[in-house]
Subunit: 181 residues, 2 copies
């Protein structure tokens, strides 16, 4: 039996849903809640130039209570049978995120061992066969097969296989296994 | 000009000197300070079976004030001209180490950008051309050229190019550059 192929999975906007928190913060700061038509095609903090919203990423607690992206836990738990799963997140920009992200992973994904968690910056350091990420720049520098997880800011990107939700990810890897890839 | 080759550099026992702190803790706990003849060939917490000493790795502050390994700052600062430097440390075993290691890096190696710092577990996830590490198991799973940094616990390992200090690392990479590697 050959070694399992390895999948590197991003956290924010892939297994952790950042959108509701950004919308809450936007509403608190500006008194109205952007709708999909307002933020589709950009980051929420780019709606009417609200870059100060991004500063909340540096606050303790921001990453502590994000909802789990629907289906991610179940699908990763299944994929773990046939693949090595690594969680790879660009946490190093945000000192305050380190413990929150660590705790979040252990709380919501206890079946992912600490050896399979990576806090990094530039993801070109990641050695894997597949990468699931919402940022095209991470996939551009990746040596393996990149899957772009749909987020409001990447809807015009066409260079990568797009996945819109975890059901599509499950289906993609079922097909890969069938192909023997 | 081709892209710079990339060097992944471990923290503990490579750029951060853990030995003095372990010896201090050993002396505090057991009333005597092991000498080189006592710990050479093993970990300090293996001297007369003192595994509880290892538990201090889980305490806040353990990694905060470690001395910088002599020469590491100067040599990395020079190597940065010709190589991409990534600091890759298996921090994920120790939740309490995350902020301490982050702060230590920014204090002592301000020329290493956060994008080039990686907190991981299993280092087979690291994609680089060279790896400098004191643990043979990290080098065994590494895809590039491994350099074993001498530490008391690895003196019998013969599978890798050994470096005893940062002067030897500097010399190794000067030779690599001459060879055009």
């Amino acid at each position: 039996m050959s070694r399992k192929k390895r999948i590197a999975v991003d956290m924010d906007e892939v297994i952790a849903d950042v959108r509701p928190k950004f919308l809450d913060l936007y509403e608190r700061e500006f008194g109205w809640r952007p709708e999909k038509k307002d933020y589709w095609g950009k980051k929420i903090y780019q709606v009417n130039g609200a870059l100060q919203i991004r500063e909340f990423l540096h606050e303790k607690g921001f990453f502590a209570d994000l909802p789990v992206m629907p289906g991610s836990r179940e699908v990763l738990s299944e994929l773990k049978e046939d693949y090595e799963i690594y969680i790879t997140t660009a946490a190093m920009e945000f000192r305050a995120s380190l413990e929150d992200k660590y705790d979040w992973m252990h709380r919501h994904f206890p079946f992912i061992h600490w050896k399979q968690i990576v806090f990094c910056g530039d993801k070109s350091i990641i050695h894997a066969d597949y990468m699931i990420d919402d940022h095209p720049h991470n996939l551009h520098s990746f040596i393996g097969k990149g899957l772009l997880y749909t987020a409001s800011h990447n809807i015009e990107e066409e260079a990568f296989t797009r996945v819109n939700d975890w059901a599509e990810i499950k289906k993609f890897f079922q097909e890969e296994l069938k192909k023997g890839a």
